[in-house]
């Protein structure tokens, strides 16, 4: 791949296994990511799909360096982020933004929407024309200007998720990690948010990693897809190739398990593989 934004090589990551922690002493480590290698193309949305426990969120958190890998390397835009300290990471933080699954818990209930969107700008001292920047951020995600003075509880689920997106994009980052950002939304709202992400990716030249368990959503939104299972990459490639001709049984099983909105009395009787 020519000039990828991310080059990830043999990434391994272990976390303490709290379920097996003895009463005293440290918890034993469990390997969550077992040697992942892949590249993330620029200006595109890459889907990361897998079931619970597959390590997709851990992978996302390692990519934005909220977690430190135990092995391997993460190269972002040509720079090695693998073992940088928090202070050394600071210049990169503005380019590594996140949108969260649940906007209700990721937006501060005591702050106005304007304050929430301005927080990353203030953090980086970009306070010139702040009201104008906030207005632009609201406009970008299709929220009316009157929302600037509101609080999160005054907004619907879809509007809250738009605020989360506006905050992530306030610093015009190079990379955005979107972790299950539509799974709590109604289908109609989900359709709106997907269209918005698609449009913003193209307008702002964003690179987005879109973590989801929903293959129909991935198929609709992402150019590339990475299928994870128990911390290993099962399959990756162009979304259309993976869906039209899945090479791995697990991918086939995942696709076959999606209930399509078409009545079919035999679907439930079909055995799943494995």
């Amino acid at each position: 791949m020519a000039d990828p934004l991310y080059s990830i090589c043999d990434l391994k990551l272990s976390l303490p296994d709290m379920a097996r922690k003895p009463l005293f002493g440290p918890a034993p480590k469990i390997e969550i990511l077992k040697g992942l290698s892949f590249e993330l193309p620029r200006n595109a949305i890459t889907g990361i799909v897998g079931e619970s426990g597959s390590g997709k969120s851990t992978l996302g958190r390692a990519m934005v360096r909220l977690l430190e890998p135990t092995h391997g390397s993460i190269s972002f835009d040509g720079d090695d982020l693998t073992h940088l300290t928090e202070s050394a990471l600071k210049p990169y933080r503005r380019d590594l933004q996140m949108i969260f699954q649940d906007p209700m818990s990721s937006l501060n209930p005591r702050r106005t929407i304007a304050d929430i969107i301005a927080a990353p700008l203030r953090q980086y001292g970009l306070v010139d024309n702040l009201p104008q920047q906030i207005a632009q951020a609201l406009d970008r995600v299709g929220l009316p200007q009157s929302f600037a003075s509101r609080y999160r509880h005054e907004l619907s689920g879809g509007q809250r998720q738009r605020v989360g997106i506006a905050r992530a994009l306030a610093l015009s980052p190079k990379f955005v990690l979107a972790d299950e950002i539509v799974s709590g939304l109604d289908v109609s709202t989900q359709a709106q948010i997907l269209a918005l992400l698609d449009q913003l990716c193209r307008q702002m030249g964003l690179t987005i990693a879109f973590i989801s368990h929903d293959l129909s959503v991935i198929r609709r939104l992402c150019e590339q897809v990475i299928v994870l299972r128990s911390g290993e990459i099962v399959e990756m490639g162009n979304t259309s190739d993976v869906f039209d001709a899945p090479r791995h049984d697990y991918t086939r099983e995942l696709i076959a398990a999606i209930p399509l909105p078409e009545p079919d009395t035999h679907w439930l009787d079909m055995e799943t593989v494995g």
Binding site: E51, A191, L194, R219
Partner: protein, 292 residues
């Protein structure tokens, strides 16, 4: 054939008079799965709660009747109603972890209904749930019976609750988004399990979901709801082949399909929403007239 469940003109209000259910009427025939589908706020879970008699304390049923096997629940005293509903209606909840008591073993929770409502003795109740655990394909059932909820996986917990729901041979099961929290492969196993059990036991199910894909696969009859109002009711093949209401069509267009990536996935359009608001307003008007 007497429907297993009949609801006529059910309305429920919040304090202040706003209605969360508006003149809902529907039937579920014995051995049939009826899906209640809609977005959040559609009132789909509220219908199940009204049947079970567990409406939130702020919500009041202000009109309508609920008949279980021809018996008017409103005509019964609270204690008689509890016994009738307790013996004939079961719930499969969305989140098995909150539905199970974390400090009690699975076995003692599974036998609660049999012992406390039906008055069975402990030995008979345990024989029955062992049989049900076999039916839901739990292999190491003795370990499961001794386990606490946190020791089981999400799929296992949902199997336990399905077994519990069928244990007393209820006439009706209210399944409230039972697969929403599960992975797709586990969801498929659980849906298949519910369908198999439902056929074997000839149980009627009211299946609450927001997922039109799940509706298409599990149900025979479908009720589409919006804002507490019934938008459309039809057999499942008719509904998907020829949806009558603009909102049903809009919901179908908003659902992405992996097998049709080029289809436009679009949100419910403003004109459809405006139409729905008009219908709600007309419904409110009729309601005020009815109240006089």
């Amino acid at each position: 054939m007497t429907p297993c469940l009949t609801i006529t003109n059910l309305s429920a209000t919040l304090p202040g008079g706003a209605r969360v259910l508006r003149d809902v009427s529907l039937d579920v025939n014995p051995g049939e799965v009826r899906a209640l589908v809609g977005e959040s706020g559609a009132g789909k879970s509220m219908i199940g709660k009204a049947i079970l008699g567990v409406l939130p304390s702020s919500v009041r049923q202000v009109s309508g009747e609920i008949f279980l096997d021809g018996q008017d629940l409103g005509a019964l005293s609270a204690s008689k109603r509890r016994i009738l509903v307790g013996a004939n209606v079961a719930l499969i909840p969305q989140d098995p972890l909150t539905a199970l008591n974390p400090s009690r073993r699975i076995g003692s929770q599974m036998t609660d209904q049999l012992i406390k409502i039906l008055g069975w003795n402990s030995a008979k109740a345990y024989t029955r749930i062992r049989q049900l655990l076999d039916e839901v394909q739990i292999r190491d059932r003795e370990r499961v019976l001794r386990s606490y909820p946190h020791e089981l996986s999400g799929g296992m917990r949902q199997r336990v609750l399905i077994a519990t729901a069928f244990a007393a041979e209820p006439k009706l099961i209210v399944a409230d988004e039972p697969t929403t929290a599960l992975d797709v492969t586990v969801q498929k196993q659980i849906l298949r399990l519910i369908a198999t059990m439902q056929r074997q036991h000839a149980t009627a199910i009211l299946f609450v979901t927001h997922d039109l894909g799940v509706v298409a696969k599990i149900s025979q009859q479908v009720t589409v709801l919006y804002g507490g109002m019934i938008i459309e009711q039809a057999g499942v093949s008719d509904l998907f082949a020829d949806p009558q209401h603009a909102y049903t069509r809009a919901l179908l267009r908003a659902t992405p399909r992996y097998n049709d990536p080029d289809a436009r996935v679009e949100p419910v359009q403003p004109d459809v929403l405006a139409g729905l608001q008009n219908e709600l307003a007309a419904n409110d008007h009729a309601w005020e007239k009815h109240l006089g």
